[in-house]
Symmetry: C2
Subunit: 195 residues, 2 copies
C-alpha cells in the first residue's frame, strides 16, 4: 500500500513512520502523538476501573451498568423527562425502555405526568432508588476524591476543564444545563413507593 517495507525493527515512534508528515512539522507539535496515546490509554484504564466497583454491586441486584446510568441521572437530577435521559445516554428509546421499566417495576423509580405538559413523564427516584444510587456511587466518590487529592492542589480545576473540553462542543450547553439542575427538584407528590 505505502512505501514501507523495511523490517519492523524500527526506532521509537514506529507508528509515525507510516505517516506522510515531515519530521519538521512533527517536532513542532505541542504534544507528540506518543504522549497523547498515553492519555488515551490512561483514560481507558481509568474508566475501566471507575465502573468496576458499582458493576459488582449491581450484580447482586440483578441489574447492569445500564441500570446504574439511568438510576444515577434520575437520582441526581430528579424530575427529568425520558427525552432528557435519551439525550444524556445517547441510546435509543427502546434500549432505555427496557432498563427503565425494570427499575420502575422493582420500585426504584417512579413516574409522574408533567404539570405543564401532561405528555411528559417526569422521573423520580424512590427512597429505595436513592439508597441504591448512593450505594453505587459511594466507591466511585471515594475513588474520585482520592484521585483528585493525588493529583495535587489545583488539579481539580484542571481536571474539570479537561473533562469538559473532552465533551463534544455542541453537547456542552446541554451538559451544563443538566449539571446545573441540582438534586432538589420537587418530588412526585409524596406518594412514592405506594404503587
Amino acid at each position: 500500500m505505502t512505501d514501507l517495507n523495511e523490517p519492523l525493527t524500527q526506532g521509537p515512534k514506529a507508528a509515525e513512520s507510516t505517516r506522510r508528515v515531515d519530521d519538521g512539522a512533527r517536532r513542532k507539535e505541542a504534544l507528540p502523538e506518543a504522549k497523547l496515546l498515553e492519555f488515551a490509554e490512561l483514560l481507558f484504564f481509568a474508566y475501566r476501573d471507575f465502573t468496576r466497583d458499582p458493576d459488582a454491586i449491581l450484580k447482586d441486584f440483578g441489574f447492569g451498568r445500564a441500570h446504574h446510568r439511568v438510576l444515577h441521572f434520575v437520582n441526581c437530577h430528579s424530575g427529568l423527562r425520558v427525552v432528557d435521559l435519551l439525550d444524556i445516554l445517547t441510546i435509543t428509546k427502546q434500549s432505555l425502555s427496557r432498563v427503565l421499566k425494570q427499575l420502575i417495576d422493582k420500585g426504584y423509580i417512579v413516574q409522574q405526568a408533567g404539570s405543564s405538559d401532561r405528555r411528559e413523564r417526569l422521573l423520580f427516584p424512590t427512597e429505595r432508588g436513592r439508597m441504591l444510587a448512593e450505594r453505587l456511587a459511594a466507591p466511585q466518590l471515594v475513588r474520585l476524591a482520592g484521585a483528585l487529592k493525588a493529583a495535587g492542589p489545583g488539579a481539580e480545576t484542571a481536571v474539570r476543564h479537561f473533562l469538559e473540553a473532552m465533551i463534544n462542543a455542541e453537547d456542552r450547553p446541554q451538559v451544563s444545563s443538566i449539571m446545573a439542575s441540582s438534586p432538589r427538584a420537587p418530588g412526585p407528590g409524596g406518594k412514592e413507593g405506594e404503587g
Copy 2:
C-alpha cells in the same frame, strides 16, 4: 426501611439527608459529595464522546469497539502476548478470542510464536492494522490535544496524575509496565501480511 418519610420537597442535597452522617463531619469534607458527583458525570460524558468518533469509523469496517481496543494495544505495544491483552482488557479469553480471530482473519493482526517460550503467541499489527489503528486514533488524539490545551498550562501533569490515581492501586504497576513498552518491539520476521 429508614426513618425517612417526609415529602420529597427537600432542600439542597436531598440525597445526603438519607445518610446517617452528622452535618458537622460532612462540612469538613475536602470535596463535597455534590462536587464529586459532577466529576463522575463529566467522566461519563467525556468517555461517551471519546469513543464516539472511532465507533463510527469501525462500523464501516464491520468492527466494533472491542476490535478497536485489541487493535490499539497490539499496535501500540506490538509483540504482547494474549495473556497480556487479557489482563489489560479484563475480559475472558473467549471474549477476546472472538474479536482477535476476526482481526487476524481479516489481516489486521498477525501472530508469532515466542522465541523463548514457544507456547506464547506474540501479537503484531500488519501494515493494514497499523493504518486502521491510526485512523481510529486520529480523532481521539485531536480531542485529547484540544482538551489538554483547553485545560490550560500545567493541566497535562495534573490530568495524568488524576487518571493514574483513578486506576486500581494493585493494577498500577502492570499499567506502568505496559505503557513503558513503547511501540517499537521487534516485528514478526518481516513476513507480515503474506499469509
